[in-house]
C-alpha cells in the first residue's frame, strides 16, 4: 500500500528533475555557444592572418608604414586612431549622457521624461551610415568653418589644435562617435537610476540632504554599476564603429599630434580595403588588424573594469 502510494510521487519528482536537467543542459548549451563563437572567431582570425604574421612578425604592431604596393604593413596608426577616437568620444559623451540621464530620472516631470526617452531610444536605432551622412553634410562644415578656427584661435598654442582646418579628422570622428554613443549611455544610465529604491532617496532627504546631495552622493553611487555598464556599451560601439568613422576621419594612416588632422581606424581600413585586397600578405594583414581590434577591445575593457574595481573600493555602500 505504502509503495503504491509512493510511486506516482516519485515519478512526478523524477519527471520534474528531468525537466530541470534538460533546461540546465539547454542553458549550458547556449552559454557554451557564446564561448564557441568567440573561439571560432579567434581561430579564424588567427588562421586568416597567417601569411602576414609569418612575413611581418611582431613588427606589424609597431610599424607606422602601410604600403600595399611593397607589401609592408604596420598597425600602429590604426591602433592609435581607434583608441584615440573612442576615448575622446567617451570623454565628450559620458558627462553629457550621465547628466542627461540624471535629469530624465530625477528632475524631469514623468511625462516629459517618457517622451524624451522614447526619442533617445529612437536615436539609438538609427543605422550608423545615416550618422555618417549627417556628419559629412552638417558636422564637417560646422567644424571647418566655426569650431576648428575657434579651437585654433584659443587653444592653438597646444600641439593638439594645430594645422589647417580641414573639417574632417580625428576630432570630427570623435564628435560623431560621441553623438552615436550618447543615446546608449543615456538610456541605460536612466534605467539604472530609476532602479534605485525610493527609500534611498527618502532616507537621504530625511537626513537633511538637499536634492543635489541626495542625487550625487546617494543615487548615482547606488546606480554606478549600471552607469558603468552603459559606458561599456558606448565604448563597444565606438571601438567597432566603421561607416560613420570612415566617412569623416580623413583615412590617412599616420599619427599626428594634432586632433584636427586626419587619422584612420582599424574598422575603417578593413571596410575600405578588403574588397580590393589581392596579395596573400595584404589580405592577411587586414585579417590581422581584425585580430588586433579583438585584442584591443579586450585590453580596453579589462583596463576599464580594473578602474571600476579601484573606484568602487572606496565608494559608499554597495547595492
Amino acid at each position: 500500500m505504502a509503495t503504491l502510494a509512493a510511486t506516482p510521487a516519485r515519478a512526478a519528482k523524477t519527471a520534474s528533475q528531468t525537466g530541470d536537467l534538460i533546461a540546465r543542459l539547454l542553458a549550458l548549451g547556449f552559454a557554451a555557444l557564446v564561448l564557441l563563437i568567440a573561439v571560432i572567431l579567434v581561430f579564424a582570425l588567427w588562421n586568416g592572418s597567417a601569411p602576414s604574421r609569418h612575413s611581418l612578425g611582431w613588427s606589424f604592431l609597431f610599424s607606422k608604414n602601410w604600403d600595399p604596393v611593397t607589401e609592408k604593413f604596420g598597425a600602429l596608426p590604426f591602433i592609435y586612431g581607434t583608441a584615440m577616437t573612442s576615448l575622446l568620444a567617451l570623454l565628450i559623451s559620458v558627462p553629457l549622457g550621465v547628466g542627461a540621464a540624471v535629469f530624465l530620472s530625477e528632475l524631469a516631470p514623468p511625462r516629459l521624461s517618457n517622451a524624451l526617452t522614447f526619442l533617445i531610444e529612437l536615436l539609438a536605432a538609427i543605422p550608423s551610415v545615416i550618422y555618417g551622412l549627417l556628419a559629412i553634410f552638417t558636422l564637417v562644415p560646422l567644424m571647418r568653418r566655426y569650431i576648428e578656427p575657434f579651437l585654433k584661435g584659443t587653444l592653438g598654442f597646444l600641439p593638439f589644435f594645430q594645422g589647417p582646418a580641414l573639417g574632417v579628422g580625428v576630432l570630427t570622428a570623435s564628435m560623431i562617435l560621441a553623438i552615436m554613443t550618447f543615446p546608449f549611455i543615456i538610456s541605460v544610465s536612466r534605467e539604472a537610476l530609476l532602479a534605485v529604491p525610493r527609500d534611498q532617496r527618502e532616507a537621504a532627504l530625511s537626513l537633511g540632504a538637499t536634492k543635489w546631495e541626495s542625487t550625487w552622493d546617494v543615487v548615482i553611487p547606488y546606480a554606478r554599476l549600471g552607469i558603468f555598464g552603459s559606458i561599456f556599451l558606448g565604448l563597444a560601439r565606438a571601438l567597432g564603429e566603421t561607416m560613420a568613422v570612415t566617412m569623416v576621419i580623413g583615412n590617412d594612416p599616420s599619427i599626428h599630434a594634432s586632433l584636427l588632422q586626419p587619422g584612420y581606424s582599424i574598422a575603417a581600413i578593413i571596410a575600405n580595403e578588403f574588397t580590393e585586397a589581392t596579395g596573400a600578405v595584404y589580405l592577411g594583414a587586414l585579417v590581422e588588424l581584425g585580430l588586433v581590434l579583438f585584442c584591443l577591445t579586450i585590453v580596453i575593457n579589462a583596463v576599464a573594469r580594473l578602474l571600476i574595481i579601484a573606484t568602487t573600493r572606496k565608494g559608499s555602500g554597495r547595492p
Binding site: 608604414n65 602601410w66 604600403d67 600595399p68 604596393v69 611593397t70 559629412i136 564637417v140 562644415p141 571647418r144 589647417p164 580641414l166 573639417g167 574632417v168 570612415t246 566617412m247 580623413g250 583615412n251 590617412d252 594612416p253 586626419p262 584612420y264 575603417a268 571596410a271 575600405n272 580595403e273 578588403f274 574588397t275 580590393e276 585586397a277 589581392t278 596579395g279
Partner: protein, 335 residues
C-alpha cells in the same frame, strides 16, 4: 524566394521556354552599370538565360574566379602574372568598355577651367606643389587668378580600380612617383585625405575649398563636377570625353598584346586623353558545362557587336574596331 522561383517557373511554363540557364559573375564596380544593362538587354533577347553580376570589386572578382565560385570575373586592371599562376583553369581577358579618370577640383572664385600637366599632377599628389599659385600651375593657366592657399589633396581610401588607373598614370609620367609610391588599387599616399568611394571623394572635394581629387569621368559628368584637361604625350591639352577616351584606346590598339593585358594610360595620339583605361571580363578557357559554354560565347559575341552600341548611352566609351576584331577571334579559344 520560394514565391519568386514559383513565379519564374510559371512564367517559364507560360512562355514555353526551357528552364532558366543561370550564369554568375563578380568583380569590378566601375563598369557594373553597363554590365547590368547588358545582362538585362541580353535577358530580354534570350528569356531563358539569366546572368547575375555582383559588383564586389576587382580584387574580389579575381579571387572568386580563382576559387571557381563564379562563371566569370571582371576587373578594372589586368591580372598580374602572380594572380594568373594561381588559376586552375587559364582565363582570357576580354576588354568590354573604356573608362577615364579626371582631376576634379574646388576653387571658389576661379571660373576658368584649370589645365594640368603630368608634372603638376604628380607634383600636387606627391605634395611637392602645395600652393595653388605655384609657378608651375600658374604657367599652364596664365589667365586664372589662382589663390595663395594650400592645396588639399583628396584620394580614394578604399581599394579601387580608379586609384589603379590614376596611380598607373602617375607612375608612367613621374619616375619619382614610381619609386616612392607605385601603382596599385591602394597605395601609401604621400599626402591628402581619403574619401570612401567616388561619392566620398566627390563629397569631400565639393565641401572643401581649394581641394583637388580624382573621380571616374562618368561620375564627374553625371554630377556636373568641374574637371580640367590634361596634357597628353603629344603635348596637347585634352579634356576627357567619349571621343578622346576611344582615341586613347585606338592608339594603344596598334601595339595590343595578344592577351589584351595592356595599360593605355599616357597613350600616344594627338587627341588621346592620357588617363584612360580598359576594363576587362575574365572568362575561363575551359567551361565544363556545354550549355554555359555556348551562352558565354554567344553573349561575348553580342557584347562586342550590339552591346557596344548601348555603351555610349550610359557615357561609357565603346571599344575601337581593331580591338573588337581581335577579341572576336579570341572567343574561339574558349572550349
Amino acid at each position: 524566394m520560394k514565391q519568386l522561383s514559383l513565379a519564374l517557373a510559371a512564367v517559364a511554363a507560360f512562355a514555353g521556354v526551357a528552364p532558366a540557364q543561370q550564369l554568375t559573375g563578380a568583380g569590378a564596380t566601375f563598369p557594373a552599370v553597363i554590365y547590368q544593362k547588358w545582362f538585362d538587354e541580353y535577358h530580354k533577347l534570350h528569356p531563358g538565360i539569366q546572368i547575375n553580376y555582383q559588383s564586389l570589386g576587382s580584387g574580389a572578382g579575381i579571387q572568386q574566379l580563382t576559387a571557381g565560385t563564379v562563371d566569370f570575373g571582371a576587373s578594372d586592371m589586368p591580372m598580374t602574372d602572380e594572380q594568373i599562376s594561381k588559376l586552375k583553369v587559364k582565363a582570357l581577358h576580354f576588354p568590354t568598355v573604356l573608362g577615364a579618370v579626371v582631376p576634379t577640383y574646388n576653387l571658389p572664385g576661379v571660373t576658368q577651367e584649370i589645365k594640368f600637366t603630368p608634372e603638376t599632377l604628380a607634383g600636387i599628389f606627391l605634395g611637392a606643389i602645395d600652393k595653388w599659385n605655384d609657378k608651375r600651375l600658374q604657367a599652364d593657366n596664365p589667365g586664372a587668378k589662382l589663390p595663395n592657399d594650400n592645396i588639399i589633396v583628396v584620394h580614394r581610401s578604399d581599394g579601387s580600380g580608379t586609384s589603379f588607373v590614376w596611380t598607373d598614370y602617375l607612375s608612367k609620367i613621374s619616375p619619382e612617383w614610381k619609386s616612392k609610391v607605385g601603382a596599385s588599387t591602394s597605395v601609401s599616399w604621400p599626402t591628402g585625405l581619403g574619401g570612401k568611394g567616388n561619392e566620398g571623394v566627390a563629397g569631400t572635394v565639393k565641401q572643401t575649398p581649394n581641394s583637388i581629387g580624382y573621380v571616374e569621368l562618368i561620375y564627374a559628368v553625371q554630377n556636373k563636377m568641374p574637371y580640367g584637361p590634361v596634357k597628353n604625350s603629344s603635348g596637347a591639352f585634352v579634356k576627357a570625353d567619349l571621343a578622346s577616351v576611344s582615341e586613347a584606346a585606338a592608339g594603344a590598339a596598334r601595339n595590343m598584346p595578344a592577351d589584351f593585358r595592356v595599360s593605355i594610360t599616357n597613350a600616344p595620339g594627338k587627341g588621346a586623353y592620357p588617363i584612360s583605361s580598359f576594363t576587362w571580363l575574365l572568362v575561363p578557357t575551359q567551361i565544363a558545362d556545354a550549355n554555359k559554354d555556348k551562352v558565354i560565347k554567344d553573349f561575348l559575341q553580342w557584347m562586342l557587336t550590339d552591346g557596344q552600341k548601348i555603351s555610349p548611352t550610359l557615357d561609357f566609351a565603346p571599344l575601337p574596331k581593331e580591338v573588337v576584331a581581335n577579341e572576336t577571334k579570341q572567343i574561339a579559344q574558349i572550349q
